[in-house]
Amino acid sequence: MNAIELRDVRKTFGAHVAVDGVSLTVPRGAVYGVIGPSGAGKTTCIRMIMSILFPDSGTLSVLGRASALEAKDRIGYLPEERGVYRKMRVGAFLTYLAQLKGVSRETADARVPDLLERVGLRGTERTPCDELSKGMLQRVQFVGAVLHEPELLILDEPFSGLDPVSVRLLREQVQRAHARGATILLSTHIMAYAEEMCDHVFMIHEGRKVLDQPMAGLRRQFDPRRILFEPLRAEAEVAGIAAMPDVSRLEAEPGGGYTITLVEGAEPSLAVARIAAVVPPARIEIARLRLEDVFIRIVAGGGGLDEAAAALRSRLQAGTAQEARA
């Protein structure tokens, strides 16, 4: 049985179509990434899954029920709009949330200190929420989402605004929940997180689904066929590389080094060995698949550096930079 199923779901706000005929199937036990730039419709999708918003048309089921309302206690949810009762103490707030999810007070009280410690907030149970920093509160809310050990964990932009250490702590907890058997659906506009965490990605752009594939398949399909290369000596002659039969293009990077694009059908591991034999490398690596590139190739079509693609890339990067500042 699937954890989440959306069939042709559509949602409009006035004249604005937020989600346009989206279908999505999340099998149990999967780690699903919903990705797309800010304003793509990720949060609207998640809110419909949570029955906080209701679709104008289309059907959905969550954990085998027609509505998340009937399975609320089995779902953990970290909304994009995060908030706490500012006057409440952290422990009391978390216990209250867990109780609302059907956990007994005793169980909740027992789990809170351990979970707080795991997200790096040991001993904050008695601290009023308004004395914590924004990043700390975000971790508190994450604890609120997993405290009742849900079967389905829905995280809307869980890492936005967090420092790298906190991101790592939360990722460990997501993996822990996954190991326990929970299905995970997480949305993010920072595609690097999805690359690292998800076994399946679901891409959404302007309310429409543009991609819905396992990461393994994506890696095969969108193999970048590129090698990043930095010669040991900066003044080394690289013309030999460009002349190799495997290589279709050689571009100098602004920061030093080169990007080598291989011809179709070339085997990257063999190419690496041959290139290294021609010019001794300081660094040579096969370029990782970047969801950002995949996204731009799909949306802009083709994959050239035309204006649409450039605009999209800058939008994605602006979003990331904004996050980094926050």
Binding site: R47, M50, I52, L53, A68, L69, K72, D73, I75, Y77, P79, E81, R82, G83, V84, Y85, R86, K87, M88, Y96, L97, Q99, L100, K101, G102, Q141, G144
Partner: protein, 460 residues
Amino acid sequence: MSPRKITLVAGREFMAAVTNKGFVIGLLIMPVMFAVLFAALPRLMTASARDRVRGEVAIIDPTGRVAPALRDAISPSAIEARRTRTLNRALDAVAGNADGGEALRNGQPDPTRLTGPAPELHLVERSAGADLAEEKRWLTAPPAGDLRPLALVVVKPNAVVRAPGQKAYGSYDLFVPPNTGERIENEVRDALRDGIVTARLAARQLDVAEVEAMTAVPRLPSITVGPVERQTSVGFNRFVPFVFAGLLVFGVMIGAQTLMTSTVEEKSSRVIEVLLSAVSPLELMAGKVLGQMAVSLLVLAIYVGIGVLMLTSFAMIGLLDPWLILYLVIFFLITYFFYASAFGAIGAAVNEMREAQALVTPVMLVLMVPWLLAAPVAREPNSTFAIALSFIPPVNTLAMMIRMASSSPPPWWQVWITIGIGLAAACFATWMAAKIFRVGLLMYGKPPNFATLLRWARQA
């Protein structure tokens, strides 16, 4: 709807409200201070007069007739009799009639509880030709024995018998040492008044008891004629309708306003979305409404309790009809649900408190209007105007509360019609509010107006 979740929400709401510092200071400490003050005041007054005052009162009496009469009037038993009489008159005035005063007296067996023991005053007669300057020195000199000088009375020669051709009788001069208590001075004056009147009556061979009987006209309660004849209440009872109307409005305002504030806070702090992943909007609203209701009931209980304590302390508890408190609770609940719905819906609709003001003002006006009409309704509780008001929600409960607490309460069927209409209106308001609540909770952006709220209610 899960009762467990509603209870959890209500519990949090209640605790958050009653542990708020402002709430504790504003609502609990103030009335508690008042209560302590009112409960302690009569006892403090008594305590200051607890020690029996003993001393001498000197009199220079050229008439020779006042001193013997004063000797009787200044005895402790005469003083006590006079105090009882004064207290009874005061209680009659408060209750509005002699019967009410009688009821009050039942809880007040001993006037000395309020006033302390009567002073022990010894009358010392000086000769008519005594030297005034020397007597004044006596007042200020240290006392020779254990009786200290308390007052010097110089009776005017014409105090008992008028000089020929004069209309008014003469009086007396009273000299007291520094730091004489006002109470002692008043006791001496009261005794002197009785003594001089007795002397005057005796001088004209009139019987004191006879004259007292002739001048006394007991004030009996008037009777309101109607299907059921009732005694018209005056005095203290005149305030009862306003007290109850005030309690009703006050209780509703506390609960409904806090409900709105806490809803706005949940929305503006964005905690609402986490909550909605655990409870439905209806469960949330029900829990919040019930939680604040408990807060309001607590406040009402405190205030009513203080009122009862005060009345008991002043031995006036007999004036309060306990049924009125029951109806206060019923009317409070109906009115509370109506206004809590309105305020809850507003709280759910707006983004922050500032935006709420525009929507709250008209609702507040509706809540205050009957309060302004309280005086005419209380004066003529069975006028067409008053009857009509008591059938129009949402002012009906307040109008009916005032009428019921008035001197001529309405017939029972009217009370039940008011309750019926009120319940229907409260249910309708709750139903509307639930719809606005559901739509409004996740709406951010342009502050809504009443038209928007209505559209949401139709949409949902």
